[in-house]
Assembly symmetry: C2
Homo-oligomer: 581 residues x 2
């Protein structure tokens, strides 16, 4: 190797040894007769010294040519440092340089290669290979690698087999839009890139693999939002002969293991909450339960007192913000502005201050007596010093608005500690959701999700109320994983496709192979998929998954570094039997 040691491993024990190091020039200090160079690699930084009179003139001459980010090799002796630096592990030694070779020169980088950089997002993405050189960024990807191997070892030890499913599969109209790949050998035909290996993992259960997993790239051709990538990675899992609790227990175990072994955080038992409860208590199917501030329905105490807005509302719902009775006019106005933002869409916000003296001050004092407000406070568990915030309107949208307000208050009050992790299973999701645009039901999870046995009979009479045997893992208000017990018999699968508006022919053309498979001895099975990018972001304490992807695409789906997508040669289109419109 072009080094005997890396830049992070030399200590006082090595003093006196002749070593060879290679790396990048991080910093140069030239004090005339004395010169220091910080040499950096992935493993650390080691200080090199050059002294006129003692160091060979040739080496000093070369050193004077160095610039930041030059790649160099040095040979020299490890010596004890006069002024020790206890901030870095190599801080008690330095290298008394004997030979210096420039392995590669470097132009001045377009931004500073430090943990804190002056480079804007666009510039850093164009020069992503330099952005990745920064320790903060590189460590995120090292964490990702570490997480992946921990997942693999855990699942392998639990007898899960990792099976690679194909990337070139078949396009289906269900779900998000597929990326397609024209076939040259079969002109006019296309493969699709998988949105998930769903049907393949189910076939593996039919094959008797019993426990399958895969850390796998998936693809969705959707309009991109800030934190959505056209290609993303899942931890995809499936098990046979299980019911819901077996799946939850298994992956709760995995999640606990990951937090414990990688973050030294002990998560304890994960609570389980129905979708219905999550919606009524938090207005969200992914509640952040690091803090309480649960919803309190106030219809019975707030309606029929002459306040028209509440009287006409389907739902009157409040939260109690502890210790916020002292909020100023300005602060309350800011909260009202917050809920009235177009993306939240509330019409207004009612507040009730629970004063220290036991009285109440509200924005609806005109309609409610002190006794009325005391009733509200009692329902909400609000005490002297607390602030109640109340919204009203139709149930679904009011809950959504209150969810936003609750999260906002949680942040404002410092209740969403990024170093605290509160997991939660949300279960019993609706099977179907009505799509106004297409005027038909869509599968909320996917068409292979099993309805709860006791609800199947309602499929014909009240399909919207049928619950699925589906579950999500939520941590700190972020959906980390989701799955379901699957349908494993042809009749139920056909029924499901019927309710999703598939004709028999369509169902057969798209998923005939799966329904055929169900006739040859399919075991009961279920599984889960984790968003691996998001899991990494959560472990790393970051909000954005892009930081955890080595070469992400921008919101136009472009890789600005390699300038992709790009045009292809005409001959290539001819070969594929295609022309541009």
């Amino acid at each position: 190797m072009l080094r005997s040691h890396n830049c992070g491993e030399l200590r006082e024990d090595h003093v006196g040894q002749e070593v060879t190091l290679s790396g990048w020039v991080q910093k140069i200090r030239d004090k005339g007769g004395l010169m220091w160079v910080d040499l950096r690699d992935r493993y650390g930084i080691t200080q090199l010294t050059f002294e006129e009179g003692r160091t060979k003139a040739e080496a000093i001459e070369t050193a004077r040519k160095l610039g930041r980010e030059f790649v160099i090799q040095v040979k020299g002796k490890v010596v004890e440092r006069y002024a020790k630096n206890d901030k870095i592990p190599t801080g008690s030694i330095e290298i008394d340089v004997e030979e210096l070779t420039i392995l590669n020169a470097a132009k001045t980088p377009p931004f500073v290669i430090e943990d804190e950089t002056d480079g804007g997002e666009d510039l850093r993405m164009k020069y992503r290979y330099l952005d990745l050189r920064r320790g903060t960024v590189r460590r995120k990807l090292e964490l990702r690698s570490q997480l992946a191997i921990a997942v693999r070892n855990y699942l392998s030890n639990q007898q899960f087999v990792e099976v690679e499913t194909p990337v070139l599969i078949k396009s289906t109209p269900e779900g998000a839009r597929d990326f397609v790949v024209p076939s040259r050998i079969n002109p006019g035909e296309f493969y699709a890139l998988p949105q998930s290996p769903q049907t393949f993992k189910q076939l593996l259960m039919v094959s008797g693999f019993d426990r399958y997993f895969q850390i796998v790239k998936c693809f969705r051709d959707e309009d991109l939002r800030a934190d959505r990538q056209p290609e993303f990675t899942q931890i995809d899992c499936e098990m046979s002969f299980v019911d819901r609790d077996d799946v939850l227990d298994t992956f709760e175990g995995m999640t606990r293991h990951l937090f414990s072994s990688i973050k030294e955080v002990e998560l304890g038992q994960f609570p389980r909450m129905s979708y219905a409860d999550a919606m009524s208590k938090y207005g969200s199917d992914k509640p952040d339960v690091r803090f309480g501030m649960e919803f309190v329905e106030l219809n019975d105490v707030a309606q029929n007192k002459g306040f028209n807005v509440f009287d006409q509302a389907e739902l009157v719902v409040g939260i109690c913000a502890k210790g916020c009775a002292e909020y100023t006019r300005k602060q309350l106005d800011a909260l009202t502005d917050f809920v009235k933002r177009p993306q939240i869409g509330a019409k207004g916000l009612v507040y009730v201050k629970c004063n220290a003296d036991g009285t109440f001050k509200s924005s609806v004092d005109k309609f409610y007596t002190q006794e009325n407000l005391a009733e509200w406070a009692q329902k909400a568990g609000a005490e002297a010093g607390d602030l109640m915030l109340v919204l009203s309107g139709n149930t679904n949208s009011t809950r959504k608005q209150m969810n936003e307000l609750r999260l906002h208050m949680g942040s404002e009050l410092g209740l969403r500690n990024p170093n605290e992790f509160k997991p939660l299973w949300v279960v019993d999701f609706p099977l179907l959701e009505w799509d106004e645009e297409t005027q038909r039901f869509h599968a909320m999870h996917h068409p292979f999700t099993s309805p709860l046995k006791e609800d199947i009979k309602k499929l014909d009479t009240d399909p919207g109320s049928v619950r699925a045997n589906a579950y999500d893992l939520v941590i700190n208000g972020v959906e980390i994983g989701g799955g379901s017990i699957r349908i494993h018999d042809k009749a139920t699968q056909q029924l499901m496709f019927k309710h999703l508006g598939f004709s028999d022919e369509e169902a057969k053309a798209q998923f005939g192979f799966l329904m055929d498979a169900f006739e040859f001895g399919a075991p009961p099975h279920g599984g889960i998929a984790f968003g691996f990018d998001r899991l990494c972001a959560m472990f790393g304490g970051s909000e954005t998954i892009r930081d955890y992807i080595a070469f992400p695409k921008n919101t136009s789906g472009r890789d600005v570094m390699i300038d992709s997508p790009s045009e292809v040669a005409d001959e290539q289109l001819v070969e594929l039997g295609l022309r541009l419109r």
Copy 2:
């Protein structure tokens, strides 16, 4: 879970326990009053017993409805078996069934689900999920999973970081044909699927990742041959601050570890051989060195003796087949027919028998004296009882022919033991190879491969003779991996592109980002990629990689199980800005 134990774990220790098992019906034997069912899952087979009078009538009635591959659940007591079966680990117990539930019925499978099946290739591919149910097939994929995790743990322990590189990248004209993916958001533009993550892993070296690996899907839109898949998997690796021997040592270590830990085979030191030597000794850049039978060049002893065929040949080359002097006329004719096959293409075959009495008998006795033939024999190390086989013609094609003949003889003589593993590094490949069709040089490895330093000066004068710092790992005549030390400076990379016929503009448009990166401090680096499908096949002792791929495509690139590729809806093409020709 729908079971308390799996079908492979019950032993005499469990006798007396109440258990619940789930699985597939493998076999039913009904002897009237007594009935046995073999219950199978991934972990093994357990025998169930039903006895009239003792077993509940209901369970017996249900049992009579069972057929092969039904999925059932049984509850019962573990009892010691009267007639023990020592061929299976559960052979000393059976389950005295108390309750039997059919979890799913099964139609009769289209072929027998046993290690040996009656299903033809096409049928098994259409019902791949049933083919995978056979133990022999499933175990191949279990081996693959085991190998992958062993590779990951080994490399992680050596400080390699697994980084996921993008699947949606940029199309480049170099190398094989890309699969392309039309971009909807950027109409008229296309992504390409990677043939390998080559440029990305090099950028990671520029980023200072120091040691990278990835087990990754790669794609090539080539006409398919029997053992080539449009999507395949590589173990892709790259290291910084290394020279060739560092890379070879590292991956020799990995390979030895895999063989030792998974196959309990100790490989010892891997010999290293130049490409030139491999070609002259074996006529192949991937010689099978499980046996000798090296080429012996006979020009100096066989030419100018009046045999026109040899006199006009560029090369006269022989091999010595030990102990084959007794070959019959028929056997020799068969060898001649073998080398004259169109795919081999020799004009004829000369033989020399070294008789037990010290005389020689050859097919060219007319031209050569006994003394002449004794000289040949001496050169070839042929002794009494041996057979020499000689071919002649132009050097390249004669070597190829002799390579085929050597392998054929090796097989015929039982010298290619599938349980013996002989690795070999082949090094110093040519940098460029001349392509008659396009009348230009192509990179033999790829355009990022570094020429040997001492040969760079010949790039302008004699490019065909320039050697690359490239290497292949060959085991038993199969190329398992290949790599090179890369170019890491812009000037050399530009020179290389020039010799490959790129204009400056083309080079910049396609690989500008890489050459830019080389200007910001690129370390010397090199790497290797292993064909993971092939490595699995070698470990499993199989000739074909398809067995080691869960859902392979056929030679028309079709997945006949899901019927892909397929047509897509017109609206989808409109969205992509495409129309069919």
